[in-house]
Symmetry: C2
Subunit: 304 residues, 2 copies
């Protein structure tokens, strides 16, 4: 009981790590996507291959648990099916969690707190003892405020408002139209309704660049994103009744790398919680496996 296999199974790749209890990485295995809602068979094949490679490595002799954080783990009975299949490979206990839970443990470990993610989408996930909760994460039609997708769509809405009013395009709008190769409303709609969510979200980079150059309209869009993410985070801290010195982890491209979003986010939070401590690091979610096994041993997380 001195080592753990931690697996982060995401929509684009799977990372498997053999870890000691100080979270040192003894071995790594990588593979294609591990999201069973995208393709169950592929996800299972990729997962099995990563687990087998970890198990085959000499460092894995003392492994006590396999901990998997998986996007889509909560959809229907997929988790149960995946676990049953994988359990044929090994008699080690397999703990299958949502990807957000594993990421939380990698950043915040066994403390209480909230992790706010703002990448293509946005969500807050938090824990207080045995209790867990989320705010946001409603997807692009119902919200995902503060996410790259949301920032990009708000910038595109400004273009449509300029067209409706017959006003000339702002420099930000012109650059976005250039980026997507559109010259009119038809071109803008063509791009929005034929592109994947991730493609649209990439337009947030144009907003980011204009903000760095001091463009007020771009800075305002990012400030609003920071406010929205702070509001979601405060809601979750209050819902989970996490006291006056909370730990907040920041994750995802928008929150980790965007100075305007991050500073407005922290300002708003500190108005409500002056003694907050922040965690911003790019630790692999798979390293959360170590604290997950501790939490299960101590009864703060159930192995179901």
């Amino acid at each position: 009981m001195t080592r753990v296999i931690g697996i982060d199974a995401g929509g684009t790749k799977i990372q498997g790590l053999v870890l000691d209890l100080e979270k040192n990485i003894l071995f790594q295995s990588l593979s294609g996507h591990g999201n069973p809602t995208v393709s169950f068979e592929e996800a299972l094949t990729n997962l099995s291959s990563v687990i087998q490679q970890c198990l085959d490595h000499t460092s894995s002799e003392e492994v006590s648990h396999i901990v998997i954080g998986m996007a889509g783990a909560e959809s229907g009975n997929l988790a149960h099916r995946i676990k049953t299949e994988l359990q044929r490979m090994t008699s080690l206990p397999i703990i299958l969690l949502n990807d957000a839970t594993l990421a939380y443990f990698s950043l915040i470990g066994n403390q209480n707190g909230v992790m706010t993610i703002a990448g293509t989408g946005s969500i807050c996930y938090g824990r207080n003892g045995k209790q867990e909760g989320t705010t946001g994460g409603w997807g692009h039609l119902l919200g995902d405020e503060g996410s790259a997708y949301h920032i990009a769509i708000e910038a595109c809405k400004q273009i449509s408002m300029e067209m409706d009013s017959g006003k000339p395009h702002s420099p930000l709008s012109r650059d976005i139209l250039n980026e997507i190769g559109a010259s009119d409303g038809k071109g803008l709609k063509g791009f929005i309704y034929s592109s994947a969510k991730g493609e649209i979200a990439k337009l947030a980079k144009v907003v980011h660049k204009h903000a760095e150059d001091g463009n007020d309209a771009a800075i305002l869009l990012l400030k609003i994103a920071g406010e929205q993410l702070a509001r979601q985070t405060i809601s979750l801290l209050e819902k989970l009744q996490i006291g006056t010195k909370p730990v907040i982890a920041l994750k995802g491209s928008v929150l980790e790398h965007n100075v305007v979003v991050q500073s407005v986010f922290k300002e708003r939070i500190s108005e409500r919680f002056p003694n907050v401590s922040y965690i911003v690091d790019s630790t692999s979610p798979a390293t959360g496996a170590v604290d997950v096994t501790k939490a299960i041993r101590e009864g703060r997380l159930s192995n179901e």
Copy 2:
């Protein structure tokens, strides 16, 4: 030159009418959908059959033009392909327009004005002499404010906010969750991300019902829709520089049948344009064919 064939080719059905110049309906033919972006071959077959039935009828002897208003007519070279195919059936001139243009002529005829449509989506289309313009119509990701879809999504966002804050659901939220058979956030997201836009838009009926019962939250959602539609309409009147006595036609379930939306819409418009005249009637768009031929003859509309 005393009769016209008018055809309204929509996403669910095609209506073909033989009309005299007083817009009396002499013959009617109906068929399945006529949207070439859904299925080009089907749309063409349905259109050909409706035109043939109209041409075969005794009342069509004096027909001078065939006027078709078609959803999707502006997509790529579809209009040209459709027209070429149909022209094999008849030597009569065929005028192919966007469906909104034909609907405009059926309601407003050869006057200048604006037609505001709020059904599943929303758009304003207007004309001033030879000049035409639109506002709104940006689709569900970029806007469609004031539409049934937008009202429904705003109501669903209130549910998600209640869930995020841990507050109990309002009576409106409870009824919407009942309507879609959901009991939690997962159920709500499941419905939104697996349903067609039209299915989501139908939830606006629940808002409508609660507003009739005096529910403040429902009334507020509808008032906002009325404001948004008025704003789009005023923008278009200003963009087209239509004077102080404009004609405004109201079309679509939300604007025609919802008392709250319609009254707020008219209030806001009259603050800006006190001498407006409104047209609300359910005349078939196909009857617009009569005024379309007049407009072409008088050079206010081009037959391209």
